[in-house]
Structures are given as C-alpha cells and as structure tokens.
Amino acid sequence: MKPRELATILYLTLAIVFIFLPVAILVQYSFQDGLVPVPPFRGFSLRWYEKMLANRKLMEALGNSVVVGGVSSFAAVTLGFLAAYGLARGRPRHAGRLQFGLMAPLTVPYIIIGLGLLGMFGALGIDRSLVTVGVGHVVINLPLCFAIVYSQLGEHQANIERAAHDLGASDLQALLLVTAPMLWPTLLAAFFISFTLSWDEFVIAFLLSRFDVTLPVVMWNMLNSGLNPQLNAVGTLVFATSIGLVVLIAVLLMSRGGRRG
C-alpha cells in the first residue's frame, strides 16, 4: 500500500473515531449499573430504561416533541413549497429580493429569533405554549424547506404542468395532482430535515414553552438537577430510532430503485 493511501485511511479512521466517541460513551453508560453515568463502568443493567419508560414527564415530552416536530414541519414544507412554486412559476418582479427575504432567517441565530418571538408574544398578551414553540420552529425551518424545494423545481416539471393545463387542469389541480406528486421525494426530504431540526432544537423551545415542554427542554431540566443515566437511556433510544428510520428509508428507496431499474 502506498504511504498516501495509508495516510488517507488513517485520517478517515481517526475522523470516524472522533465523530463516534461521545455517542459510544453515551450508549455504554445507558447500561451503567450505578447511580451516575460516569466512569468507572460498573456493569450491565437495564434499570435506567425501565425508569425512563416509567418517567411520565419524559414520556410526555417525547410525545410533545413528536407533535411539535410533525405539525411545524408539515406547515414549513407547505409554506415553503407554495412559495417555491409561486417564485418559480409566477416569476414576480424583484424575485431576487423576495427570495433573499424568505431566506433571511437562516442568517440569524436561533436565540435572537426565540427572544424576538418571546418579546412580541409578550407584548400581544399571547401565552407561551407548545403552539408558540411550533410557530418558532416554522420560522426557522421555512427558509430551508423553501430552498430545498426551489432548487428542485425546474423546467422539466414546468413542461408537464403546461401539459396538464392544456388538458384542462386548473392551477390548483395541476399543483396538487401533478407538481406535488412529482416532487414527493424532495418534499419528504424537506419534511425530515425540518423534523430533525425541530426535534433537537433547544433555545427557542426553552424560551417559548411554559408547562408543556419538548424533549430537549425536559432533558436540560433533568441535567441541571444532576447527572442521570436515564438521560443516556433516552439518548440511546433516540439514536436507535433514528438508525431504524434510516434503514427503513434506505430499504424503501432501494426497492423503488429496483423496480425502476
């Protein structure tokens, strides 16, 4: 093996170790048979998983996170898709500026967006709740969804839309029955990216929630009252679920590819 190839492989290996190190430790200490998830490792136990499943606050937060992530991502994809369609097909004047305006939230730190919404909701007398958290998550995810869909809306779809119009479809029919189905892998990708970001978002969820909270907020509260292996158990569960989803999507895509090929 040439030295350059060896260096390449060494670098890749080191990078993978670096990237996996904290997660490996996280998973290992979820099985810790002691009161705190710190070395030395005391041996294998599933008790923290039992505790976690029996922890009502944690389970409620898990459900809240799924709902907030699902609903806000659906809203972000819908708004982003419509905007991308309007910009690509309507070709409004000042299209560049409108696009810049829609993408602007990407250049602002989450803490500022969260604080601003907190201030505005406060001034308007709107109480903090999971709804306000969801609104915040749509604000941060809309630009991404818009950008993802916009990048995939090309002439190819426009031609087929034109064909649909020539055959008598209305704008709405063409949008829902022709454009959206053609774009579904893109829309699905935008939804999942959006969901992932919402799922793990802390500062906006922390500032804009009150009694009902999302998973990162409840974990933060638990962490502040001391290290707890239940946290490792939740982290491992989330990790395992993500891997499961990835495998599922890969299998789905492969079977699709297989039918095509």
Binding site: L12, I16, L21, P22, V23, I25, L26, P37, V38, P39, G80, L82, A83, Y85, G86, G90, L98, Q99, G101, L102, M103, A104, P105, L106, T107, V108, P109, I111, I113, L115, G116, G119, M120, G122, A123, V135, V139, L142, P143, F146, A147, H165, S170, D171, L175, D200, F202, L207, L215, P216, M219, W220, L227, L231, V234, G235, V238, S242, I243, V246
Partner: protein, 281 residues
Amino acid sequence: MRAGGVGGLTRWALWPALLWTAALFAGPLVVTLAISFTEHGSGAFTLDNYIGFVTRSDGAFLAALFNSIEVTAIVTALSVPLAYPLAYVLAYKTPPRWQRVLLVMLILPFWTSYVIRSYSWLVVLSKNGIINQVLLSSGLLDAPIEFGNSRGATVLGFVHFFVMLLTLTIYANLVQIKESYRKAAADLGASSMQTFLHVTLPLSLPGVAVGAFTTLVLAIGDYITPQILGGGRELLLPQAIMLQIERRADFPMAAALSMILMLVVSAAYLLFARHLKMERV
C-alpha cells in the same frame, strides 16, 4: 407572459410564506430592537442598555462579546481544515457506493440528542474518562487532567458538530465540479498538487464559504455547548443573554445584547457576502 399558470394561484402562492416571514421573523426583530431602547421596569426610552454594555465596570458584557468572537473564530479556523480533507477523500477517493454509507455514518451520531451529546463529551474529557485513560496508559501523562469545563472543551464540542456540517457542504460542492476540469488540467501537464491548488480548490471555495458562514452563525448563537462544556469560568454572549432573562428578568438588556450579537453576525455576512450565493445553498 404566464409561465404555465392561469394566473391566480401562481401569484398568491408566494404570499403565505412572505406574510409569515414578515409577521413572525421581521416583526419580532423590530420588537426586540424597540425593547432594547427601553428601561427595565418603567419601559421609558433610554440608551442605557447600550451605554451599560460598554461602560459596565466589570466589563462582563464586552468580555462576553470578545469571548464569543474568539471562540467562534477558533472553531471555524479548526473545523474547515479538518473537514476539507474528509470531504475531498469522500468525493474523489471513495467508490460511489461507499460514499453514501460513509455520509450516513458521518451524520448518524448527530441523531442522538444535542443536550446529551454535549454532556457525553464531559464524561469523555473527565479525570477518569477515556482520554485520560489512554494518555495515562501510554505514558504521555503522569497524573490525570480534567479536560472538561474549559474553553477547550467548548471548542471541542463545537468542532465535533461543525466538522460534520462542513464536510457535508464542502462534499456537496466538490461532487458538482466537473471531472473534465481536473482531467484537462492533468492533460495539460499539471501535477495532482497543481491541479488541486489551481483548479479544485478555487472552484470549491463557494462551498467552503457557505459552510464557514453557517458554522459562524450557529456557533456564535449557541447556548448549550458553552453552558454544558465551558465550566462557567467565562461567559459567551448567548449565556449573557440567557442570564438576563433567567436570573434578572431584564428583557431590555437581553434585547440589547441580542442586537449586538445580530450586528456581529451581519458584519460576518458582509465579510462573506462576495462568496455567498444564498440562492445556491
């Protein structure tokens, strides 16, 4: 000219997103700006929040600003050169079917939870953590050192995340560069180093710029990483903002600090603007 629509729908389709962004993104920024000029408690107009930022006797806010800029600069300066070779190897030296597997491997660890991942680093870096064990058993250290609860730990936590993010953005850019450019350079007698320096590297700079700017925005606004890993000996700007909200319920001061943070990010944006084509993200 109508581009495939009968008119109505294509024209209003843009409006919901525009109104949403105006009302719930631009609106709150204006409210924050307005609140930053009010006095805590009375709500009267004042410049004291901004004056206090500079003149405060212990200099805590100015220090937080400089710490934030410093840490963000260090994180970006470390993450880009660490990620670039990784993206390069993935894009050009890895068989296509392995590229996908490696990309998924790269992202996978970040689908745990951000809060928990940060505190896992604390465990890794602790006195009886794995890093100390390795260093002690290899004889590089005589006594264990606490690596956590420090600026270095904050930087490490950030670099961990941003190496992944930057690898993705740079990779996405590298695979778009046509192979024929590199082949042409080679045909004209360029060595592989020359091809890289004069063809590949310049063409990949937009990807680097987008990734570096994203790193900057996300890192300078992050609260969790420095709060969990930093140990509290120094504050970063987001921690200072949260302190105003949580401990002192001083919204106007928090708003002023946010506007200063916003100013720093805008300055960075102008610095990068030449290379950032937002529409190409």
